[in-house]
Symmetry: C2
Amino acid sequence: MNTNPLLSNTLSHWDGQVRRMTAVFDSFTDEEMYVQVAPGRNRIIYILGHMTAAHDMLLPLLGLGERKYPNLDEFFITHPDSPDTALPMPGELRSYWRDVNAAVSAAFREVPLAGWLERHTMVTPEEFEKEPHRNRFNVLLSRLSHISYHLGQLALVNK
Amino acid sequence: MNTNPLLSNTLSHWDGQVRRMTAVFDSFTDEEMYVQVAPGRNRIIYILGHMTAAHDMLLPLLGLGERKYPNLDEFFITHPDSPDTALPMPGELRSYWRDVNAAVSAAFREVPLAGWLERHTMVTPEEFEKEPHRNRFNVLLSRLSHISYHLGQLALVNK
């Protein structure tokens, strides 16, 4: 559907970055998921849940559907990580991560070129008139950067 | 010159991410530049030099000009960081970083839309025929991800 070359390049880059991140999460055992990326910083499992919630949010933000796992926000968005907090199990989160990304990637393919230039659902028509860069494509670029931001942190963990 | 909205969005995102990274480097004193982002990992100054060299390389890679600071590669590309290695001074590197990014950002604006879909200089015409995604726009996306990768690491330093 997306024959625009800039758009198809960007969507391929998205899929590649999600695959890369999945491979990183898969490289850690369930036990290793409780290691912090740096002293006093987020645990790997927190980043997994945080990324899953962030990608799940793309569905309503881009007007592509309902959240699949809104229950994750309390653990991974609203509150920072703390070693004392009980979190959902690694196996459960790994499965949510795959499920959410499959849904997001499929939904991306259904958006026509013009749709990427429309406002996202957190911008009012009035705001969008003044700030036309606050479109869906910009959300995609911003979430792409978000993947790499946490990939860089995961790369610091000694294996 | 770039009136294509996907391209202008991407170039604005580039400038925004470079500004964000510059603000992070500027938030550290010259002394703090020698702090490691995590135990045994790169020092901040190494990341500054590494990013400068990587962005400088974009000029020949995209066919936009000659390298400005090829001498950086020996310190920041060829060799990993080591606390024993003497590096160029922070003030010098901060100035190179600004200079390189100004040149890259200006050069990006001169590339027409069709130019972004052409092969980059490390791909042969034969390879490009088989792998048309190895174009300049893809290099831009990949270097955008590279910025965020190291931004995520810099965010781990206690201020």
